[in-house]
Symmetry: C2
Subunit: 222 residues, 2 copies
Amino acid sequence: MPFPTETGRAVLTTNIVVFSLRDEQLKLLLVRRRNPPFQGCWSLPGGVVGEDEDIEANAMRKLEEGTGVSGVYLEQLCTFGDPGRDPRERVVSVAYYALVPSERLRLRTDEHGEEVAWFALRGLPELAFDHGEMVSVAHQRLAAKLEYSTIAFQFMPERFTLSDLQSVYEMILNRDLDKRNFRKRMLAMEQIRQTDEVRRNGSHRPARLYSVNNPHEVQIIK
Amino acid sequence: MPFPTETGRAVLTTNIVVFSLRDEQLKLLLVRRRNPPFQGCWSLPGGVVGEDEDIEANAMRKLEEGTGVSGVYLEQLCTFGDPGRDPRERVVSVAYYALVPSERLRLRTDEHGEEVAWFALRGLPELAFDHGEMVSVAHQRLAAKLEYSTIAFQFMPERFTLSDLQSVYEMILNRDLDKRNFRKRMLAMEQIRQTDEVRRNGSHRPARLYSVNNPHEVQIIK
DNA sequence: TCCTCTTAGTGTAGTAGATACACTAACCTA
DNA sequence: TAGGTTAGTGTATCTACTACACTAAGAGGA
């Protein structure tokens, strides 16, 4: 039995807000559009979902194509389907956000002749379509999750200092945190473990390195 | 310029998890399917999004058709688009949830010859498609929002007692709350106001009636 | 009318988590 | 070895949440 309507079909796409930390800043991966509409404009990575492709699998694939990394944290954000959001025809986009640890990044630029670049979250260019709104929703969600989950650890490399971790929180929340209270809180949740290594850089006391207990899980705290 | 692909099109639908309080229970609105697949099975209200219709507007319209109420709280939940979720063809459903104050409900049954009914959340029948999963996500979201927002007030009529309100919380969270602590917390957030009316019912002390300060806003607390 | 039943309404002490806040430790370099 | 820089630590206060038990007010029936 066929679906009882011929209307209501839409092009199904994904877009991914890819966060990473580079140069001590919270940055986003953007792609420059080569075709109209919004030709030349920066936009979020993403693409059309294949005939028999799972939506999340599509987002993960696009993410891998853009960054060269796999298995990173990816979460559905929300769906944008305003009838006028694409001037060509009805396009529905399921937005995701992803967190990529900086160490793992190898930017695959120009693989398909695409111009791809990282932009600081504060200082984004005007984005194509409703992608600016997607970024804003993603940032809000990420900041909210910092407070009650271990999501920030998704950004961390295998070994990191508590100061590294604190600056991740500070970049996302966009405010300074008290060092002692921060350390107490992090250690109290027992999700990271001290190692016996230290990092020496610069002419000051070396910093103890820590590692995440369950690097592939995001736990809800409290 | 046409969209540069002929693949990737999907039927776009909505489904709404409609919560209401009836007979001292948290209930959901379900519709019995008249056609295959899942013929005769209960399912969530919803339908195909029109050619030029906004997705949320479609959800609101379907909600109004099912319940006869308008202007109630409606929030996007998430999007389900598994390639096999509908055996006929690729159907993507944007799931919403809605909260309907019990007083305003007039169930429009049989308007289109559809069988529509309220089911207690505990004691739902097996649902069509992935609607069971939608219900579970909606209930989790609702319970989470109770803790940090004024969302519960969306269920309340114009005048209600604190005991009424407490039983809303208890039904959603599925556990008993301490009366004194609950009242302290509710009054501390200064979102409800005592009226000079009381409600007399039964042979016991009458209960003071309260009203919500901003009944159409859901505020994030703390 | 007064006794009983039922739901409404109230306060306090203890605990746990969050905040504010300033100094010492370790290393490097000049 | 003195100065500069980042790492690392503890305590007092405040605030929010928890646990907990009795009195108040009305209705109905004896």
